[in-house]
């Protein structure tokens, strides 16, 4: 029995190390000077500095080959605008649709739901490459609206299928009783169904935010440098010559902090959304 619990403890330690150490180490690196990072053997005893962050946020990076202007703050802003905009649009479009699919049996309903779902499974580039041609013609590459529209391919099916599952789990009897009281379906939808499905809508919205924030390929192909999010910005940054490693680490930390904060804050919602999204739909 004691051997079993020892093995269990070792297993837990290994799991914890494997999944948390990379986050920990990159966080540490972000507070190191280049000299500290290049030291061999690596050491956790170093004088922490915030200079990586300050130079990143001020936008001019001192590197071995001179000063480099990097607008990483703009990348962060873009990520916020794109992710928040996508989620808001998805909620506006998908929540009513989810209600329709959950409550009404109507001709073509199931087909529509699956058509929307199937977009989740197409290879993104198949759509993005031709889309780039159209975007260039109508000048959408330089706008948030174009990207937010394309982001609906990820966020809309997600919201639709999670929220639909929640609506289906709400008993119809409550709504029916309210309807019998003389209220319209719209009142029933807004006053009964929506409040009851609020946890589902919240977890779908949070998951959609994270998926949109973490997206890389859409903006890589379609976005001009002015509207590109942190995922693309960080890659440009890494491949730029002469960048200091601590600054890269700081950039990576800044790019994952928002999603980690959301995850820790709303952990239960997320796990629920993930499991429902997969198991229940």
């Amino acid at each position: 029995m004691s051997i079993r619990s020892l093995l269990r403890a070792l297993g837990l330690l290994a799991v914890g190390l494997f999944f948390l150490f990379p986050l920990f180490w990159v966080l540490m690196m972000s507070f190191m000077t280049n000299a500290d990072i290049l030291r061999s053997p690596p050491s956790l005893i170093f004088e922490p500095t915030v200079s990586n962050y300050t130079s990143l946020l001020s936008g001019s990076l001192a590197s071995q080959v001179g000063t480099l202007n990097v607008d990483y703050v703009q990348n962060l802003m873009n990520s916020f605008i794109l992710a928040a905009g996508s989620v808001v649009l998805s909620l506006l479009l998908a929540v009513p649709a989810a209600y329709a699919f959950a409550r009404f049996r109507f001709r073509g309903g199931e087909n529509m739901a699956f058509t929307i779902l199937s977009f989740k499974f197409a290879p993104p580039l198949l759509v993005l490459i031709p889309l780039l041609g159209y975007f260039r013609q109508i000048g959408l590459t330089d706008s948030y609206i174009g990207l937010i529209w394309v982001y609906q391919l990820i966020t809309l099916p997600l919201v639709l299928w999670i929220v639909r599952g929640y609506f289906e789990d709400i008993s119809e009897d409550v709504e029916y009783a309210y309807r019998l009281d003389g209220h319209s379906w719209w009142e029933t939808f807004t006053r009964i169904a929506l409040p009851l499905a609020r946890p589902g809508i919240a977890s779908a919205g949070l998951l959609a935010f994270i998926f949109a924030w973490n997206n890389f390929i859409f903006a890589l192909v379609l976005g001009s440098s002015r509207v590109q999010p942190v995922t693309v910005g960080a890659l440009n940054f890494v491949t730029a010559s002469g960048i200091q490693y601590g600054q890269i680490a700081a950039a990576l930390v800044l790019s994952i902090l928002p999603t980690l904060a959301v995850a820790l804050y709303a952990q239960r919602f997320l796990v629920q959304g993930l499991s429902l999204g997969a198991v229940k739909g």
Binding site: Y99, A122, L125, P130, W185
Partner: protein, 310 residues
């Protein structure tokens, strides 16, 4: 009686006309459908591209060549290399994540404080963008100063090349994928494990049935639907994976990490050969479409079960 009649009348007014009532679900769902269906236009365009000789460098040479792009792919060693690399990536990531994810879920099954803290911590890698995770590991596996190489020298392994060596590049990107997505399996399977009825397990314990027997004959079969759903989900992502290999090495070194979407991306943007790129993507689409049909069937069955139980 009077009150009842007036309630009924109000209810009728509330419901509106029959035509209006029929239109409601369409009105509610149409905007969502329209926004996504706009994507069908570029899809059709991609089909057309794939049937053309279309290179942005020679726009005047653009013409229909029908299935020539596909035939050229079928006869090109590079394309079959891409198929092989994608297959290895997919099998390795899904396989490792499935086994490791199950092991972690079993480890965390009991509700203790440590396990609860750990299952919160597990969500964190899943929240990191795959592209960013790739860059994180690139920093850690840097051959000059990376912490990973230092740790390897401690256990006696020298000069491990990670993503810079064609022989270990695949291992490196699979490792990143495993780091990000194993928690996906763990979270789903943990929810599955904790939702299992306790009866069979108590009975087995009372009868002194060996743990391994219980695991293979009771736990595993009952978890199977969860495992398969999670595996199918991950398979889609792995087969179409772009972010991790692209952020790590842009498909290199050489063509070690040229999975489908990376090759299609380079074909379109480095070689400006839109026709060939579209053909590669159409092949990928055909594969994922086939898989999605299988998956949707499974998924529907599970939905039915989940709702039946609720």
């Amino acid at each position: 009686m009077v009150a009842n009649a007036s309630t009924a009348a109000r209810a009728n007014r509330g419901r509106g006309s029959v035509a209006y009532r029929r239109a409601i679900p369409y009105l509610l769902s149409l905007p969502a459908l329209l926004v996504t269906i706009g994507v069908l236009i570029p899809f059709v365009t991609a089909v057309v591209y794939s049937l053309q000789r279309y290179n942005l460098a020679f726009p005047q040479g653009r013409a229909y060549i029908w299935f020539d792009n596909y035939l050229q792919l079928a006869m090109s060693a590079d394309f079959w290399h891409t198929v092989a690399v994608t297959l290895i990536y997919t099998l390795a990531t899904v396989g490792v994540e499935m086994v490791l994810g199950l092991a972690v879920a079993l480890l965390l099954q009991k509700r203790t404080v440590i396990n609860d803290v750990m299952s919160v911590a597990l969500v964190l890698p899943l929240m990191v963008a795959p592209a960013i995770a790739s860059l994180m590991w690139k920093l850690m596996t840097n051959t000059q100063f990376g912490i990973m190489n230092y740790l390897l020298t401690v256990v006696g392994i020298q000069h491990f090349g990670w993503a810079t060596d064609p022989n270990t590049a695949m291992f490196t990107v699979v490792l990143v994928d495993v780091w990000v997505f194993t928690p996906f399996f763990s979270i789903l399977l943990l929810a599955g494990l904790r939702g299992l009825p306790s009866g069979p397990f108590e009975a087995a314990e009372l009868d002194g049935v060996p743990r391994s027997f219980v695991f293979f004959r009771v736990t595993l079969p009952m978890l199977m639907p969860y495992i398969l759903t999670a595996a199918l989900f991950r398979m889609f992502d792995s087969i179409q994976q772009f972010d991790i290999p692209y952020a790590m090495t842009q498909g290199g070194p050489g063509d070690a990490l040229m999975v489908f979407q990376v090759r299609a991306y380079l074909e379109a943007f480095t070689y400006t050969n839109l026709g060939k790129s579209a053909a590669i993507l159409m092949v990928l689409w055909a594969i994922t479409y086939f898989l999605s049909q299988v998956m949707i069937k499974r998924w529907l069955a599970m939905r039915e079960k989940a709702h039946g139980a609720a």
